[in-house]
């Protein structure tokens, strides 16, 4: 068994970290939040720079000019993007790469940056709509593509570029595309969870650093168990989420029958974990933690929005339960509960 990143993925993470930490930051996110017109708010690194870096299209095949990498490669990059609240989201590029898989021309334009695309889910808020002029959507079972009118409303998290989209004249790219659409959605959930992993991990780091230096009643507040244990609980959740993200990305690459469960579990855990981490970050900081100037609320904003992306966390938990129940009913072995009964008997002994 080797359930770990390899050296190339570690190098990739380091390179992504250099690029993303050098161009994006919570400070840029705060500036975007201060912008008078949310539709004109600047994101960092921004669509053009992100595309130019090559990181956005890692999962596009080399034949179309992309990186020819795995989803796990992209997840490693997405974690770094999440740490600095980068925008636009790698989710958008990952979904587009799946949806346009047999459209070499559009894929090439995704890679060269001339196709400024976002993916529309039903009638809800559209991720990265603010920086897009072309939209992919599912109509019936048809995959469609075309322009749209974007209404960018006051954002909770400005880095997500959310807007309401009314599609214009669209072209049918593929019929009978529902399965591909669902796969793209699951791939998107994996990348979402990876970005949230980065944001949550960074939130815990900031909280730990503050708890080590801030003193109250004559000692560092991190020495008090009430503070320490809250940070530990957030850290443990982050490490569990990391395992789920890696598993889900690996499943997308290597074991696609495990992807529905893995992607739903990662999505659900990401929502819960980032919420815990961001709320803990604010709490540990006390008064400074809920000021406009502090970075804590920028992570909290990410949590409050991301939990609703690609289906909300309640729906994701429900999907996990439905899949688990369906799998149990499908196997229905000869000795139901045998393992459980046995282990309980041993434990009760």
């Amino acid at each position: 068994m080797n359930f770990d990143l390899d050296d190339e993925q570690r190098d990739l993470a380091a390179a992504a970290r250099d690029f993303l930490a050098g161009s994006a930051s919570p400070a840029v996110a705060r500036t975007a939040l201060d912008a008078d017109d949310p539709a004109a708010a600047e994101l960092a690194p921004g669509r053009d720079a992100l595309v130019a870096s090559g990181f956005a299209t890692i999962t596009v095949p080399e034949s179309a000019g992309g990186g020819g990498g795995s989803l796990l490669d992209l997840a490693v990059v997405a974690e770094q993007a999440g740490r600095v609240l980068a925008g636009p989201s790698l989710i958008t590029f990952a979904r587009a790469a799946v949806l346009l898989a047999d459209d070499e021309e559009r894929l090439a334009r995704l890679v060269d940056g001339s196709l400024r695309v976002a993916v529309v889910d039903g009638t809800g808020p559209v991720l990265d709509a603010a920086s897009a002029d072309t939209f992919l959507a599912l109509r019936g079972d048809d995959l469609v593509c075309g322009p749209g009118a974007v209404d960018v409303r006051a954002p909770i998290d400005p880095t997500r570029g959310l807007g309401q989209v009314v599609l214009g004249d669209v072209e049918v790219l593929a019929t009978d595309a529902r399965l591909r659409w669902e796969h793209a959605e699951r791939v998107g959930r994996v990348v979402l969870a990876a970005e949230d992993l980065g944001a949550a991990g960074r939130a815990v780091e900031i909280g730990v650093a503050y708890a080590r230096e801030r003193h109250a009643f004559g000692r560092a507040i991190g020495s008090y168990q009430a503070v320490k244990h809250a940070l530990v609980d957030a850290y443990v959740q982050v490490e569990q989420l990391r395992s789920l993200v890696w598993w889900a990305a690996w499943a997308a690459d290597q074991a696609v029958d495990e992807l529905p469960m893995a992607a739903a579990a990662a999505k659900a855990a990401a929502a819960t974990t980032l919420t815990t981490a961001a709320e803990t970050l604010i709490q540990v900081h006390g008064g400074i933690g809920f000021t406009w100037e502090h970075d804590a609320h920028l992570y909290w904003r990410r949590a409050k929005v991301d939990r609703f992306l690609l289906g909300d966390d309640v729906a994701a938990y429900d999907e996990v339960a439905r899949l688990a129940i369906a799998a149990a009913l499908a196997t229905g072995g000869p000795s139901p509960e045998a393992g459980a009964r046995a282990e309980a008997a041993v434990a009760a002994r």
Binding site: M1, N2, F3, D4, D6, V208, A211, R212, R219, A220, G222, S223, Q225, K228, H229, L231, V232, D233, Y235, V236, Q237, E239, Q240, L241, S243, L244, W246, W247, W250, Q254, A265, A268, A269, V314, A316, Y317, D318, E319, V320, A321, R322, A324, I325, A327, A328, G332, P336, E337, A338, G339, A340, R341, A342, E343, A344, A345, V346, A347, A348, R349
Partner: protein
């Protein structure tokens, strides 16, 4: 990244599986026995030892196989898969034995180790006391040296698993109260059948009785049974506790009960509920199931690290912390879906599986390091947060007792 065995691991797994197949009936299955029979359990461990499946990581000189932690993990997985009951000498193998290996004399090695692996002797670990649980170094059981060089031990231990069946134990004692609490401790091997040793089983909230209180009334222990130097018992005890972490290395095995078994149980009951109730049950199942998946795959990361030859670090504590939580949530749900039976200890069909499990799990959050101690370990040794100030720092053990009015 892959979840497959290396060729060496696959070959080892095949060998282990073949042995289990060959001895399928002799090995028995979990839940077969109505009452626990220690003679049966000893015989099972001897059979596994003779097949090379016990003490895999122990040195050959100590009676082991000189194998890798990954090989041990594979044995654990295969025994669990085949529903073979746990080894009776788990504590002996995981904690007592490694302590004897590291700190015992060649004579002690010869006398004890192979017999321990075969369960010819059952061992227990005598650390916790009524007045010192998490604060182990505050223990009070005394060992006093006599004129002939032997020691006399007096005091009380508690929560001692298997003491009522044990032949030997390792006991941590105070040999000098006039130094700081960590410095005045000494470890011994003790004969549990010696005069002056009294064992009283304690009944747990689950109704089971597998741990005990143990009284020592001037029990004579020869100096040859000392493990490590006089006053060095804390360092010796750390070997024991480190070994415990290695033996509990996680590796994705689940605490309490498998999430798949719970899903199966819920699947058979959820359809009987009204639709709105079903939705609530699915939320509970989804949350606990995601937690258990997170714990399982985090265990696989640890297993991968072990497979590379790394030793499990303090972050391994996170596995027990999170695994206990998800096990409790799953068990709670399993009982809840029993409907009218959920409030009774035994269901109308005579089954008490889930009620029993529910009553066992609160103890899991305490045994082997409480949730709170584990959080301190992770907070201080992984996250680098400062320790809580110790009120008994810089004073002798006798002074700290006086300050506490004891």
């Amino acid at each position: 990244m892959d979840f497959d065995d290396t060729p060496d691991e696959a070959a080892w797994r095949a060998k282990v599986r073949a042995f289990i197949e060959e001895h399928r009936e002799e090995l028995g299955r979990r839940g077969d026995e109505q009452r626990f029979d220690d003679q049966v359990a000893r015989a099972r461990q001897a059979l596994l030892y003779d097949g090379g499946l016990v003490g895999v990581t122990w040195p050959v000189e100590a009676g082991g196989q000189g194998g890798t932690p990954m090989q041990q993990a594979i044995v654990d997985q295969e025994l669990a898969r085949a529903e073979v009951p746990g080894l009776i000498n788990l504590i002996g193998i995981g904690m007592c034995g490694p302590t004897v290996i590291h700190h015992g004399s060649p004579e002690q090695h010869r006398r004890y180790l192979q017999r321990l692996l075969r369960a010819d002797d059952v061992w227990c670990q005598l650390f916790s006391e009524p007045a010192s649980g998490s604060d182990l170094a505050a223990l009070r059981t005394k060992a006093v040296r006599t004129e002939d060089g032997s020691w006399r031990i007096s005091g009380q231990k508690v929560w001692t698993t298997l003491a009522h069946l044990a032949d030997h134990g390792i006991v941590l004692t105070r040999t000098d109260p006039d130094v700081a609490k960590h410095r005045g401790l000494t470890m011994f091997v003790i004969d549990m059948k010696a005069p002056g040793v009294t064992v009283r089983p304690l009944r747990q909230m689950s109704g089971g009785a597998d741990f005990n209180e143990v009284f020592f009334d001037d029990v004579v222990v020869p100096d040859e049974e000392r493990l490590g130097d006089v006053g060095d018992g804390w360092r010796v005890a750390l070997t024991t506790l480190m070994s415990e972490r290695l033996s509990l290395g996680g590796g994705g095995t689940e605490i309490g009960v498998g999430s798949a078994a719970i899903a199966e149980h819920v699947a058979r009951h959820v359809g009987d509920l009204p639709a709105d109730r079903q939705a609530l049950v699915r939320q509970d199942l989804g949350r606990a199931y995601v937690d258990s998946l997170g714990t399982r795959y985090t265990g696989y990361r640890q297993l991968s690290a072990i497979s590379r030859g790394d030793l499990p670090g303090p972050e391994a504590s996170a596995g027990k912390l999170a695994g206990t939580k998800s096990a409790r949530d799953l068990a709670d749900l399993a009982v809840r879906v029993l409907g009218d039976d959920a409030a009774y200890a035994v269901g109308a069909d005579g089954s008490s599986t889930w009620q029993d499990l529910q009553a066992v799990l609160p103890g899991m959050a305490i045994a082997g390091g409480t949730d709170q101690v584990l959080r301190n370990v992770i907070g201080e040794r992984v996250l680098g947060l400062p320790p809580e100030p110790r009120a008994d720092k810089g004073v002798t053990f006798r002074e700290s007792l006086a300050a506490a009015g004891a």
